[in-house]
Symmetry: C2
Subunit: 338 residues, 2 copies
């Protein structure tokens, strides 16, 4: 098995990406295609002692910058590390695609270069939020599909179900909710009202409407929503986490005693900060693509890159896509399938 | 001027509501109609020394419970404290309606019993979020309108503009954004894409798309969105704030030193908690109704009730509704008005 890593994408690329690939290859002995400029990657691989590992450099002349529009990645820069990494998966040479680069571009490459799995119209991006109960709640879709129809949300539910059961392994019969504004059936916008009965009809463990607050309670294993709402929620939560820490810092500065207190609390606060970095744990998978696609934070460090590669290999080894299609066939009544 | 206070709504009603009304009447000498069961309210008013203030009890036999559906409030329980308080405004006997009761019901009473201001099709609920820069960012609508058309968002923008300028007074020329997923024009769902050019055409200080993270940066004074997305964001943020404090607590428990640290930090954490309670500051106004309608948290204490009454009197004294209509006429081109 080989995983194609976009070696040039991310705030600390290519150094961190090369280091992460080496950590991963040492631990697992799974192969990595390091996609990017050979003249840069080769010396780095030597510098960090990665020559005798199953890591192969695949040359790519171009790089997608963090601020370039996604369309550039799939229409213009066809020699980019991201594009070529995606193509390796499309052509069956690699089993998974991992990028810490420009998120929009990585999503576009996943959707259009790697492509959807057979039987899936719209792949969805899933993020596992930490909760009060310790086990994660998966929110899907957090940005791959802006305007959705009920059928898409139904598929996101099966994707989330399969992700929780097979990869996160946090529940055998994941509780599924639909993001809405009010708990009772009948509350919500048109999309929610139209999707609700379909979820009820399915073989999924559908619990009903979830509210914004339920993302962090741990009462749901999966919450589905359209990619617009999901993306707003993701970005709001990420930034609020950081702002709250800052606001606490500001409050703390006002008194000498709380300053001492904060110093003593520092290790705990740091642990918390790591936990609150929702997309940090091995990145966010785009579920429903032909191969496995994992998109991680631009600020991923070598450990995060290693984790993303590990999650990607988990997906491949579990035969995630086969299980997803199986679940679609068993959990969705025939009339509801695409 | 009289403000109609739903004396029976809220987790700590009627005690807290009576105390809040007394605090307010003492400070301002503005009149309050205390609407609810006379046999309960009269002794309370005496107990807390409120007899010689401009506070009048208006009897209402029924009470809306916190878990009753909004339709009950406007169709069945027409003798409820909430309904009668709303009716006092509709009939011009009171200038403002304030409730800490069942939010959905209070919204329904505001919309259907108090009613929309002339020229306004859809009132919107506004919440002022605290930001990094200190000054608030107003998110509108956070739940009054689930499915919206571009014109509604345009009106929310003018409402937010007027709220920031006349009541919060945090900017003279409020920066307006539209909540989307990506900064560039053209990013977003259909509603955002259709609203963007209308906002551009208006006389508002329209800055462009705002992302989830921008709610807390302070770069925008007003961010408009449909009530579905807004409500999800509000509830996500409120609950995340609480969860983060809990997660920090859990981390802290793991070490003795951080426990001491946390104890020293306690006052700072408490101050922060108050700041993070977004809807606490005098409640959330439903903008665009015939009179002023302020909906506060169910867990409002006497200070929060007093603040809500104060904000309500600010609205009345500023002639908010007149200014809103003026702004609609001057800031929106004729073709865009309702």
């Amino acid at each position: 098995m080989y995983i194609a890593l976009d070696a040039m994408g991310g705030d600390y690329a290519p150094d961190t990406n090369v280091k992460g690939a080496i950590l991963f290859a040492k631990e697992t002995n799974v192969g990595v295609y390091l996609v990017g400029k050979e003249e840069i990657l080769k010396p780095l691989l030597e510098k960090y002692d990665g020559q005798n590992l199953p890591i192969e450099i695949v040359h790519a002349e171009e790089t997608i910058e963090m601020d370039e529009p996604p369309s550039i990645a799939i229409r213009k820069k066809r020699k980019s590390s991201m594009y070529i990494a995606g193509k390796l998966v499309r052509e069956g040479k690699a089993s998974a695609f991992v990028s810490a680069g420009n998120t929009g571009a990585a999503m576009a490459v996943s959707k259009f270069i790697v492509g959807s799995a057979e039987g899936i119209e719209r792949p969805g991006i899933a993020v596992a939020f930490p909760t009060k109960k310790g086990k994660p709640t998966v929110l899907i879709d957090v940005g791959a599909n802006v305007d959705c129809r009920p059928r898409h949300l139904l598929y996101f539910a099966v994707m989330g179900h399969t992700y929780v059961k097979e990869i996160l392994k946090s529940s055998d019969n994941p509780k599924i909710g639909i993001l809405s504004i009010g708990e009772e059936e009948g509350k919500g916008n048109d999309l929610v009202k139209d999707t609700y009965p379909l979820l009820k009809m399915s073989g999924l463990n559908f619990v009903g409407n979830a509210e914004g607050r339920d993302i962090f309670t741990g009462d749901f294993d999966v919450i589905v929503c359209d990619g617009f709402v999901g993306n707003v929620v993701l970005k709001t939560s990420e930034s609020l986490g950081m702002i709250i820490l800052e606001m606490i810092k500001q409050e703390v500065k006002k008194s000498f005693l709380s300053k001492i207190g904060a110093t003593l609390m520092l290790p705990a606060l740091k642990r918390f900060k790591k936990k609150a970095d929702f997309a940090e744990y091995g990145g966010a998978p785009l579920l429903g693509t032909k191969g496995t696609c994992i998109i991680t934070h631009g600020r991923a460090d070598e450990k995060a890159i290693k984790n993303a590669l590990r999650v990607a290999s988990d997906f491949v080894q579990t035969n995630f896509n086969e299980k997803l299609i199986e679940n679609i066939n068993t959990l969705l009544p025939e009339g509801l399938r695409e």
